[in-house]
C-alpha cells in the first residue's frame, strides 16, 4: 500500500474524531434510554487518553479491559487507541487463573474493570508486577446475603491503624484465617490479598476500602452452604454459563459438619482481633450521628433503583 492511500485509511479513533467534527450531534450510542452523540463519545475518549497518558501509558503499552457492554468500554477502548496503546479486552466471566494468564501474558500495565470484579483482581495482583494501575468504574457491587450462610464482619478504622495497604491485607488475612481456624476448619489457607480458601474453594473473603482517611474492611464469611439458586433466580445468568459466574464455594458447616452459633462467631471474631491488634473490644452501640446516618442509608437502600 502506498503512503498516500494508508493515510486515507483512518483508524477507529480517527474515524470517530472525523465524525465528531463533521456531525457532532449524530448519535453513536443508545444506552438506558439515553443517546450519546459522537462528539460526546469523542470528548470522553479524549479524557481517557489524557488520563492514561498522565499515568504513564505510552504507545505500544497494553491496556486490559474487563468490562461489559457499557459506554465506558468504548471510551476506554477509543482512548487507548488514541494513545497508540494496545487494547486487551477479555471475558468478564473469567476468574482467577484465566485472568492471571491473560494479564501476565499480555504484560498489561493498566486494567480497567468494574468495581465488582476488584476482589478477583486483588487476589492475583501480587503475581502481576507489570500491572501498575487498576482503574475501576461502576458501582456494580453485588452481595448475596443468606440467613443460613453468610456472616458479615466489618471493621471501620481510623487511617493511622493502617500504615500501608499491603501490610493491612497481610494482617487482616491472617486475622480472618485465625477466625476460620478457631471455628474449627482445618487446612484453610490465605494467599496474599486473596480469599480464605479450603482446597481451591472460597470460605471467606474481604476487601479494604478507603474513605477520607479512614479504612473500611468488609468481610464475608460463609458459615453454612450458600444456595446459589436463590441468587440466580434474581440476577439472570444464561444456564450454560452459570457455573462460570458463581465461584466454587465452601463453608464452615461443610468443613466441620456444624454451623457455628452466632455467639461463638462474635467471641471468635473479637478474640482474634483483640490478639492481633492488641486492643480491647467492648460491646457498644452507635452514637447519635451514626444512628441518623444509619436511618438515611437504610431508607435509601430500599428506595434507590
Amino acid at each position: 500500500m502506498s503512503a498516500e492511500s494508508s493515510k486515507n485509511r483512518l483508524g477507529l479513533a480517527q474515524s470517530i474524531e472525523k465524525r465528531a467534527a463533521a456531525l457532532p450531534d449524530s448519535v453513536a450510542l443508545h444506552f438506558e434510554g439515553e443517546a450519546i452523540a459522537y462528539n460526546e463519545l469523542n470528548r470522553r475518549a479524549n479524557q481517557v487518553a489524557n488520563g492514561l497518558q498522565g499515568l504513564g501509558v505510552e504507545k505500544g503499552d497494553r491496556v486490559a479491559i474487563m468490562l461489559p457492554n457499557i459506554p465506558e468500554f468504548i471510551y476506554v477502548l477509543v482512548g487507548t487507541l488514541k494513545l497508540g496503546a494496545v487494547a486487551v479486552p477479555f471475558n468478564t466471566l473469567y476468574k482467577g487463573g484465566e485472568i492471571l494468564h491473560i494479564l501476565k501474558d499480555s504484560g498489561a500495565r493498566c486494567l480497567v474493570t468494574l468495581t465488582n470484579f476488584f476482589p478477583v483482581i486483588n487476589e492475583i495482583r501480587s503475581e502481576l508486577p507489570d500491572l501498575e494501575q487498576v482503574i475501576l468504574t461502576g458501582e456494580r457491587n453485588l452481595v448475596f446475603a443468606h440467613p443460613e450462610s453468610t456472616a458479615f464482619i466489618q471493621l471501620v478504622l481510623q487511617g493511622d491503624h493502617i500504615k500501608d495497604i499491603d501490610g493491612a491485607y497481610q494482617k487482616m488475612g491472617h486475622i480472618l484465617l485465625k477466625i476460620i481456624e478457631d471455628l474449627g476448619v482445618k487446612e484453610a489457607w490465605y494467599k496474599h490479598r486473596g480469599s480464605i480458601r479450603v482446597r481451591g474453594e472460597k470460605i471467606a473473603t474481604f476487601v479494604i476500602s478507603e474513605v477520607e482517611g479512614m479504612a473500611l474492611i468488609n468481610t464475608v464469611v460463609f458459615l453454612g452452604p450458600l444456595d446459589t439458586r436463590d441468587f440466580l433466580r434474581v440476577v439472570w445468568v444464561p444456564p450454560e454459563i452459570r457455573d462460570k459466574v458463581v465461584e466454587p464455594l465452601t463453608s464452615v458447616e461443610q468443613e466441620t459438619g456444624k454451623r457455628p452459633l452466632w455467639d461463638q462467631v462474635k467471641e471468635t471474631v473479637a478474640g482474634a482481633i483483640e490478639e492481633r491488634f492488641q486492643v480491647e473490644i467492648r460491646d457498644g452501640s452507635m452514637v447519635r450521628d451514626e444512628l441518623f446516618s444509619y436511618e438515611k442509608l437504610r431508607s435509601l437502600a430500599y428506595k434507590a433503583r
Binding site: E72, L136, A145, M214, Y294
Partner: protein, 474 residues
C-alpha cells in the same frame, strides 16, 4: 526493678463491637456506612464520640441481595422467592474506593477534553484478543490497525452499513464478533449501537421493541431464545429490522426460517475467527443462502480447502479450511512456534474441517483437533452429533474421543428432553452410522458447558480437566 511501677504499661486502646445477627440486607451496607459517616462528621463536631476502631458482626434474618445501581435485578422473581432487594445508592463525593485503585470517573473528570491523536501506522497493534479456546490455554491473537480496517471494509460493503443504521450491541465487546462486527463496524461507518450490557432474552426483546434497530448480529442461542419468547408473548418484532447475522456456532435451518418469518428480514449465517477479526465468510445478502453453509468469502479474504500437506483440494473434497487476506492476524503474541504452525505458505490454517461445494459455498464439519482416530480410521464428531440430534429426545450432543489405554473410545455427552436409555440411543446410532462410528459410551448430562458464544467447551468434558477458576495454594 522499681521503676516499672511508674511506667505502667499504657492502658489498652478500646474498640467497640456492634453485634446484629438478625439484621437485613440493607444493614450490610448501612451499618458500616453509618459508622464511617458518623466518624467523619464526628471529627469536626463530636470529637468525643469518635472511637478509633469499630468492629461490626452481623448476619441477616432474611435472604437478600444488595446490588450496585447498575445491576439488573428481577424484582418479580425476587418477591416470588422471598429475596429482599436493596441497592447501594450512587455515592457522593466521598465515595468508598478500594485501596490502591483509581476511579475511572475521577480520572476522566480531572483530564482535559482535548486530545490530538497521531494517525496510527497500519502495522501497529490495535488489540490483542485472547481466544476463548475450546481446547488448551487462551492464546493472544495480535490484530493490527490494518486488520481491523480490512475487516470493516469487507463487512461494511457486504452489509451496506451507513449512518442510518442502528445495530443491536448485545454480543460482548470483549469477543471478536461483538468488538469487530458491531463496535468497530458501527462507529467507523457513523452508525449507532444499542448497548445491551446484560443479556437475557426478555431484556433483549424489550430493547429491540423499544429502540427499533435496523441490524441485529447475534449468536444462535439468542435467536432461539428470542423465537421462544416471541411465541410465548405473542408480540411482533419491529419492522425496522432489515438484516440479521448469526455466527460463532451453527444455526439450525428451521430456526433461520422461523426467525425470517418473525422479523421479515433475512437472517444470514457467517463464519469467522478471532484470527480473521471476525467474519471472513458470509451467505450473500443479495444472493442465495444455503442451509448449513457459512457462505462465500467476503471481499479481501480468500479461502480454500487443503489436505494435510497444505495442498489445495478440489471442490466437494473435505479437508482443512485455510484463509488468506489483509484481515488475517500476524500471529499469536509471544508464541512464535504456534504462529509458525498456524500458517502454511501465507495461508492461515483455521483448524476447521469442511469442504466447498460446486457453487463455491463453504461448509464446516468439524474442528480438526476433535477428529477421533479409532483403529486408524477418522471419525467426525460432527457426523455422530448430527445423528444423535436426530433422535427426538436428544436436546444437545457433544461427541469426543477419550483415551482408553492405547486406544481411543467415542464418548457422547447428551442432554435430553425426556427419559431415554443409553441402549436405546446406541441402537438409534447403529441404524444410521457404520459400526465403528457408534459411541462406546453415552453420558447423560444436565447441561453442557459452553462458551459465551454458545460453543460446547469440550475440554471441560474430558476427565482430567483442570478448573481454571479455582485458585490453588501452590
Amino acid at each position: 526493678m522499681k521503676w516499672k511501677i511508674f511506667s505502667r504499661k499504657k492502658r489498652k486502646e478500646q474498640w467497640r463491637l456492634i453485634f446484629k445477627p438478625d439484621g437485613d440486607v440493607a444493614d450490610v451496607m448501612a451499618l458500616p456506612g453509618a459508622v464511617a459517616e458518623g466518624q467523619i462528621a464526628g471529627r469536626y463536631l463530636l470529637a468525643s464520640s469518635v472511637t478509633s476502631g469499630t468492629v461490626i458482626v452481623q448476619g441477616v434474618s432474611r435472604k437478600g441481595i444488595l446490588a450496585g445501581a447498575d445491576v439488573a435485578v428481577d424484582h418479580d422473581a425476587a418477591s416470588a422467592h422471598d429475596v429482599d432487594v436493596a441497592y447501594q445508592p450512587r455515592s457522593g463525593r466521598a465515595s468508598l474506593r478500594p485501596a490502591e485503585t483509581i476511579n475511572l470517573e475521577e480520572m476522566m473528570l480531572e483530564a482535559s477534553n482535548e486530545f490530538t491523536s497521531a494517525p496510527p501506522d497500519p502495522e501497529d497493534l490495535a488489540c490483542i484478543l485472547y481466544t476463548s479456546g475450546t481446547t488448551g490455554r487462551p492464546k493472544g491473537v495480535m490484530l493490527t490497525v490494518d486488520n481491523f480496517l480490512s475487516e470493516q471494509q469487507a463487512t461494511a460493503q457486504a452489509l451496506d452499513i451507513g449512518p442510518k443504521d442502528k445495530i443491536v450491541g448485545v454480543l460482548p465487546f470483549f469477543h471478536v464478533f461483538g468488538l469487530s462486527n458491531i463496535l468497530y463496524l458501527a462507529l467507523v461507518r457513523g452508525a449507532s449501537i444499542i448497548l445491551v450490557p446484560q443479556y437475557s432474552p426478555g431484556n433483549l426483546l424489550r430493547t429491540i421493541v423499544e429502540t427499533r434497530p435496523t441490524l441485529m448480529m447475534a449468536i444462535p442461542t439468542m435467536f432461539i431464545h428470542l423465537l421462544t419468547l416471541l411465541e410465548r408473548k405473542k408480540v411482533p418484532l419491529p419492522d425496522s429490522i432489515r438484516l440479521c447475522v448469526s455466527g460463532a456456532a451453527p444455526l439450525p435451518k428451521e430456526v433461520i426460517e422461523a426467525f425470517e418469518v418473525a422479523s421479515g428480514a433475512r437472517l444470514l449465517e457467517g463464519y469467522g475467527l478471532t484470527e480473521t477479526v471476525a467474519a471472513c465468510c458470509l451467505n450473500p445478502p443479495d444472493g442465495v443462502s444455503k442451509a448449513g453453509s457459512i457462505g462465500t468469502p467476503l471481499a479481501g479474504f480468500e479461502m480454500k480447502v487443503v489436505d494435510a500437506n497444505g495442498k489445495e483440494l478440489p471442490r466437494e473434497d473435505a479437508g482443512e479450511i485455510a484463509v488468506r487476506g489483509k484481515g488475517v492476524t500476524a500471529g499469536y503474541y509471544n508464541l512464535e512456534q504456534d504462529t509458525k504452525e498456524a500458517f502454511h505458505d501465507g495461508w492461515f490454517l483455521t483448524g476447521d474441517m469442511g469442504y466447498q461445494d460446486e457453487d463455491g459455498y463453504f461448509f464446516i464439519t468439524d474442528r480438526k483437533k476433535e477428529i477421533i482416530i479409532k483403529a486408524g480410521l477418522n471419525i467426525s464428531p460432527g457426523e455422530v452429533e448430527e445423528v444423535l440430534l436426530r433422535h427426538p429426545l436428544v436436546k444437545e450432543a457433544a461427541v469426543l474421543g477419550r483415551k482408553k489405554g492405547e486406544r481411543e473410545e467415542i464418548v457422547a455427552f447428551v442432554t435430553t428432553r425426556g427419559d431415554l436409555s443409553a441402549k436405546e440411543l446406541i441402537s438409534h446410532c447403529k441404524g444410521a452410522l457404520s459400526n465403528f462410528k457408534v459411541p462406546d459410551v453415552i453420558s447423560f448430562m444436565e447441561t453442557l458447558p459452553m462458551t459465551i458464544t454458545g460453543k460446547v467447551l469440550k475440554k471441560e468434558l474430558i476427565n482430567d480437566y483442570q478448573d481454571e477458576r479455582r485458585i490453588e495454594q501452590k
